[in-house]
Assembly symmetry: C2
Homo-oligomer: 208 residues x 2
């Protein structure tokens, strides 16, 4: 059963249960999916409206990009829990002999790398969605301006949340080059995305 | 059909559609519900564990409070869309005579007040949940510390998002006392909650 096939209230029950997954990674992905969905909604409420005819091309672009990102972010809700489950699976590997232990260590490193890459990939999608959000500010249905603000807030929370999940997995990885690379790239995405999100929120505060 | 009875992917489709509701208000409530759910999960992963025996009473308290807030926030997802629908319903009221017009104006003011009170009530729940989140930081399962961080991020995004929805509805309300009261109370909740959320996030960043 995929998480995205659960009803909203069932998802919350599973999220709040004593199972470690789904956890913060999937929650961050879900926040960001709401962000992309709201951007899509605002474009839908803008397109074809006389008042915004000068932004018709931009609105179409926003709509296409937000729809694609909404779907990719939606898929990442389950991907993240799958990546976490790979880590959990290592705990049930045998540990009787030295070979077992070596195989376990290797499997754990591989699983942790997967569990760090998953939220990192989300971060890339989130920054892309924030860029699309910013394009729409001031150039879309003014009645839905608060929705663009909520989109930016959810994308920022998703981005920072995904980053915490990158960090917690990096903390167990021994490959220093891997750690350095993802830490640097992640920090850059975090800074870029938070800057856009804060700018959008400030802009929206002026418009509501 | 209640929103919380939709599957996660269906909710995103409805959120991203050209219907103005559900919009940012319900999305903010959903973010915060994830926050409360994650706090509950962390308490579940802490209770009964030897390592955290000294925090057993606190953990129980966190678990009870997070469970209650999770449910109240979950209900507010639908409540907000219902409040918005009351505003939409006014647009289909007759407007032929002066009496019609006066009745419309009055109904609109009442509906807008309801649509401002709904996200304001959420804000109260969100700040309460942030207080519970902070109680658990450093006193719960260390493997789930990033989940507490994601909880705080989602609650902050929910709080700021709800605030945008209070503001956009206040902007149409003529009763100055009402506007002043909710603006002041809302600003106080916003400041209080954001301060706690930022403190939790910084603390979690040190612990991951």
């Amino acid at each position: 059963m995929k998480l995205i096939d659960l009803k909203v209230h069932e998802f919350m029950t599973v999220l709040g249960s004593n199972e470690p997954a789904p956890g913060g990674g999937s929650a961050a992905a879900l926040s960001a999916t709401m962000g992309a969905s709201l951007v899509k909604m605002v474009a839908e409420l803008t397109k074809g409206k006389k008042k915004y005819v000068e932004f018709e091309e931009l609105t179409h672009e926003v709509l296409v990009e937000a729809t694609r990102l909404q779907d990719e972010l939606l898929q990442s809700i389950d991907k993240d829990t799958e990546a976490f489950n790979e880590v959990s699976a290592v705990f049930s590997m045998p540990k009787e002999t030295e070979e077992h232990k070596a195989a376990r260590r290797e499997a754990m490193q591989k699983a942790l790398q997967g569990a760090a890459i998953s939220p990192f990939n989300m971060m890339t999608l989130m920054v892309a969605t924030l860029k699309v959000t910013e394009k729409a500010v001031g150039k879309s249905n003014v009645n839905a301006v608060s929705d663009l603000g909520v989109a930016a807030l959810n994308l920022k929370a998703g981005l920072q949340g995904a980053w915490l999940n990158v960090l917690i997995n990096l903390s167990g990885i021994k490959d220093e080059t891997f750690v350095k690379t993802y830490r640097e790239k992640g920090e850059a995405l975090l800074t870029e995305g938070c800057t856009i999100a804060d700018r959008v929120y400030e802009e929206v505060l002026k418009l509501v």
